[in-house]
């Protein structure tokens, strides 16, 4: 299990992490989402032992990550900018990784050749961004990590390769119980693979829940009232936590926090002509949760 508690990191007076806490259950796929500058990459760099925290703790299975090769050997990471040596080929980097990761699997490396179809001897710097990402996945998966840390992992990959890569990752999750912590802005994709989600903003984790909990706790209702609609967002109708409200004609779309059944029962008291609960996407949850944290989509007229 990954446990990050009250993590604080300051860069030249700027508090990049302000008491962030994350708990990633073993065997889960945890999506870390948040606006640009929220502190996701900084948090992941603490988790991979690159940065040392000002305060707080970063633990994997109860052991601090910082300067513990035994813990780090159980973890592989693909950062947003994967590093390779200037002249190195995939084969050179494979040898380098093999020297660090005791569990490095040469057999898997050979098997994955057919998946990635990259030249083993071509300098990596001459590969496209997507091919470099493939190389990073190839090597990371051969390290047989118990924990895989991914920062914008499929950025640059084509749709086929994205599916291929996620297939490999999910296979390891299901077969070996690998734990994945992934940071991405591609919420649609995260929705497909993640079972847990954490939303970060301004160096803090605003909420973290399993995806089903998250979706159960936020409801999107499309509703048509018979007369004058109640002003739910203004507080006239007490007891509702409205994240967003909009109307097209008489059709009102209201996103509320709470259990779907309870909200439906309470809205029924207004005797609507039509009422339906619509599935909420992760993107909508992200947008409307952050809207409450002063990070809303602004209506801009140019």
């Amino acid at each position: 299990m990954i446990e990050i508690k009250n993590l604080v990191k300051t860069f030249d007076g700027f508090r990049a992490l302000d008491g962030a806490s994350v708990t990633v259950p073993k065997g889960s796929v945890y999506g870390l989402v948040g606006p640009n500058g929220a502190g996701k990459t900084t948090l992941l760099r603490h988790l991979t032992g690159v940065y040392r925290q000002d305060s707080g703790s970063v633990l994997i299975d109860g052991e601090p990550v910082w300067e513990d090769p035994a813990v780090k050997a159980r973890m592989a990471s693909i950062p947003d900018e994967w590093y390779y040596f200037m002249q190195a080929s995939v084969r050179d980097m494979m040898k380098y990784y093999r020297g660090f990761y005791p569990a490095f699997n040469g057999e898997r490396y050979e098997k994955l050749k057919s998946v990635f179809e990259l030249s083993e001897t071509q300098p990596i710097r001459r590969m496209s961004k997507g091919m470099q990402k493939q190389a990073a996945f190839w090597l990371a998966m051969c390290c047989m990590p118990e924990y895989l840390i991914l920062d914008e992992p499929v950025d640059g990959l084509d749709p086929v390769m994205r599916r291929q890569v996620w297939g490999l990752v999910m296979q390891d999750v299901s077969e070996r119980g690998m734990t994945v912590l992934v940071s991405s802005h591609n919420l649609r994709e995260l929705e497909d693979v993640c079972d847990h989600v954490g939303i970060m903003n301004r160096g803090r984790v605003l909420l973290e829940r399993s995806l089903s909990e998250l979706q159960d706790n936020t409801v999107k209702m499309q509703i048509v009232f018979s007369g004058e609609p109640p002003r739910l967002a203004s507080g006239e109708a007490e007891g509702f936590t409205v994240l967003h409200e909009s109307a097209v004609g008489r059709v009102h779309t209201i996103i509320l926090r709470g259990a779907q059944r309870e909200i439906e029962q309470r809205l029924a008291a207004y005797q609507p002509v039509f009422m339906e609960a619509v599935p909420l996407t992760l993107e909508e949850i992200f947008i409307y949760e952050l809207g409450g944290a002063d990070y809303a989509v602004k209506d801009i007229i140019l």
């Binding site: 032992g49 940065y51 052991e63 035994a70 050997a73 950062p79 380098y96 093999r98 020297g99 660090f100």
Partner: protein, 652 residues
């Protein structure tokens, strides 16, 4: 459970060796050119090498030692930059620090790989050199070991120092700058401080080697503290000591070992810094938080001292005497240069040009400190200018007194004679108390002309004095462009009278009479040299017929005649018959007298001790005297006449 700390990772080591092979190959090629190939060329084409094997071995060791020092300096930072370059690239830093290895492992392995690459190349060059020399029967295992030491010890130091610089900064371009500046920084600051003191302190002496030379690793090579010399062994055969040339050895080998040890300390410090160095510091000019103010104020101080003083001397101080610098002018120049350095350092640290608002407080502090420093120096708070030691405290004194405008060249002294010390102290005191007038005279001289240039009763000179006190301290003072007036001779407290009295002190006059105008270590008072034996000499006289000089035949002196002549000179000086003065006096004889003598090598008296390089095979050191005969030296003239030599003197 935490894993054990390891300082070595095989993968990193071999990867470094493979990845940086072009650098290692270039380094090895340079050494192959410097050593085996140059030796082979010398042996094939230079027959003299075989006739003089010691010279060949001396030269080979010289290449290893001098070359080793310079190559180590140049390649030290290059190898450090190669193996630790990932610390200057954020992507690389993050990539490598995410790997399952401790910081200690990464640093120590990278450091070791760079060192091993250099040592392997040196070993290869050495083996080939040994084979080359061995083929001609010139191989000496001991000297081969010395060569290896001469190459390897500076390498350990400079490479480790380079590694420290790499860890210290997060910018690849800043590392060689730090490295180069730090290699001469301490001695440079000392020299700048000396210059600064000289601007304000009357009598300031810049003599003597820098005290901090050893703290600037390039300095020992430039100063000759590290090098090569022939190795002599003094053997005792009964009462006869013999010095034999046994080959070559490294001068300053102990210093090289000390530097190598310091290198290991730097390597260890680098490790400590690396451990505390945050990964996010990559890209910063200074990667360590505590070092940032040191860097900022260090740059400020150095800029104020260097550029500030340069500006002052270029625009304001060219025609100022020592100790007479304009305080306001110096402070303005130094504050301007210091502030320039301060804001430049602030920009580098903040990575921004907008540093005024955040840096003005520090700038104000810097300016205030520079003003205080300048005022303190100008006010002579330490009492430097007025200090004159009590003659009773002085163990020995050395004086160099140059005269620039009286037809005399001056005189020197190095003696523990109490009377001479008393006279030297009196001369020093007279000059120190004449500060205001001397500075006014010099100021009026407009930089070039002094009153002595237009006034025949005045002379101009430089007086340098160095006291060795009984408590072990050394005190030095130097007064440049001193103007002395003959009219003041009757006043015993005047500088003219005090300096003239010193000039005519018996031990000083004897040195001058024997032709020692300037100080030299070998030119001790001949009366104090044990077992001084005269070996000969010659006399050549000239007669001026009003139009041409006619030179007589050379009269060669036997050892006994040389001794006789020397004794006569000593008697004349003791009797005060030299009749000399800084303002004139008797003129010297036309012609030359040369006396040759030798004495036992003071360094080689103990069998097996290191002999002086100029000692002969009998362990004796030669010395020659060039007596200056004046018309009043009646005993000496009588001795010469007894030998049939008639000295002639020019008309006064």
């Amino acid at each position: 459970m935490r894993s054990r700390t390891s300082f070595f990772n095989q993968t990193v080591f071999w990867d470094d060796c493979k990845r940086y092979w072009p650098l290692t190959a270039g380094y090895a090629l340079l050494w192959l050119l410097l050593l085996p190939l140059s030796r082979l060329t010398e042996l094939i084409h230079g027959g003299g090498a075989l006739r003089n094997p010691y010279a060949m071995r001396y030269e080979t060791l010289g290449v290893a030692v001098y070359g080793g020092y310079i190559v180590a300096f140049l390649f030290g930072i290059a190898f450090a930059a190669a193996t630790l370059q990932y610390l200057t690239n954020p992507r690389a830093t993050n990539g490598l620090h995410a790997l399952p290895a401790r910081r200690e492992t990464l640093y120590a392995t990278h450091w070791l790989s760079g060192l091993c690459c250099q040592l392997a190349a040196q070993l290869l060059a050495l083996l080939l050199t040994a084979a080359t020399l061995g083929a001609y029967g010139l191989f000496d295992a001991g000297e081969a070991c010395l060569m290896l030491l001469g190459m390897a010890l500076p390498t350990v130091f400079f490479y480790s120092f380079g590694a420290f610089c790499m860890v210290f900064t997060g910018q690849i371009l800043a590392a060689p700058v730090f490295y180069g500046v730090a290699s001469v920084l301490v001695v440079g600051v000392e020299l700048l401080l000396r210059y600064f003191a000289g601007n304000f302190l009357y009598g300031w002496s810049n003599s003597g080697d820098p005290l901090t030379g050893v703290l600037s690793p390039l300095y020992p090579l430039l100063a000759g503290d590290v090098g090569v010399r022939y190795r002599y062994v003094t053997a005792a055969d009964g009462s006869v000591l013999t010095s034999l040339r046994q080959g070559a050895m490294i001068e300053g080998l102990g210093l090289l070992f000390a530097y190598a040890a310091a290198g290991l300390v730097f390597a260890a410090l680098g490790l400590l810094v690396y451990r505390s160095r945050p990964s996010e510091a990559t890209g910063s000019t200074v990667a360590i938080d505590w070092a940032k103010p040191v860097f900022k104020y260090g740059v400020t101080f150095c800029m104020a001292l260097s550029l500030g003083q340069l500006l002052y001397s270029l625009f304001l101080g060219q025609y100022r005497a020592d100790g007479d610098a304009s305080l306001a002018g110096t402070l303005v120049c130094m504050a301007a240069a210091g502030l320039l350095g301060y804001f430049a350092a602030e920009m580098l640290l903040k990575k921004s040009f907008r540093v005024w608002s955040s840096g003005w407080k520090g700038a104000a502090v810097v300016t205030a400190l520079l003003v205080i420093l300048g005022c303190a120096m100008s006010a002579d708070l330490t009492g430097y200018e007025g200090y004159v030691p009590d003659p009773a405290q002085v163990e020995s004194v050395r004086v160099d007194f140059y005269l620039h405008s009286s037809g005399k060249t001056g005189t020197s002294a190095f003696t523990s004679d109490a009377e001479t010390i008393r006279l030297a102290v009196a001369a020093h005191r007279a000059l120190a108390s004449d500060k205001q007038r001397q500075i006014a005279l010099d100021r009026g001289a407009d930089g070039y002309y002094t009153p002595a240039d237009s006034d025949p009763r005045a002379v101009n000179g430089t007086f340098f004095v160095e006291y060795r006190l009984r408590d072990g301290r050394t005190v030095t003072r130097q007064y440049d462009r001193v103007t002395l007036f003959a009219d003041e001779l009757p006043d015993p407290a005047s500088p003219a009278a005090a300096l003239n009295a010193f000039y005519n002190a018996p031990s000083v006059a004897l040195r001058r009479a024997l032709g020692f105008n300037w100080y030299d270590d070998s030119e001790n008072d001949p009366r104090e040299i044990p077992d001084l034996r005269f070996t000969g000499g010659y006399v050549t006289t000239e007669h001026y017929d009003g139009e041409f000089y006619e030179r007589s035949d050379q009269y060669d002196l036997s050892p006994a005649e040389a001794q006789q002549l020397f004794d006569a000179i000593v008697r004349d000086v003791a009797a005060g018959r030299v009749n000399d003065s800084i303002f004139g006096g008797d003129v010297s004889m036309d012609g030359w007298i040369e006396l040759y003598a030798s004495y036992p090598d003071p360094n080689g008296r103990a069998p097996g001790g290191a002999a002086r390089p100029d000692a002969d095979e009998n362990g004796r050191v030669s010395v020659s005297y060039d007596p200056q005969l004046t018309a009043g030296m009646s005993d000496t003239i009588a001795v010469l006449r007894g030998m049939g030599v008639e000295p002639a003197f020019p008309a006064p």
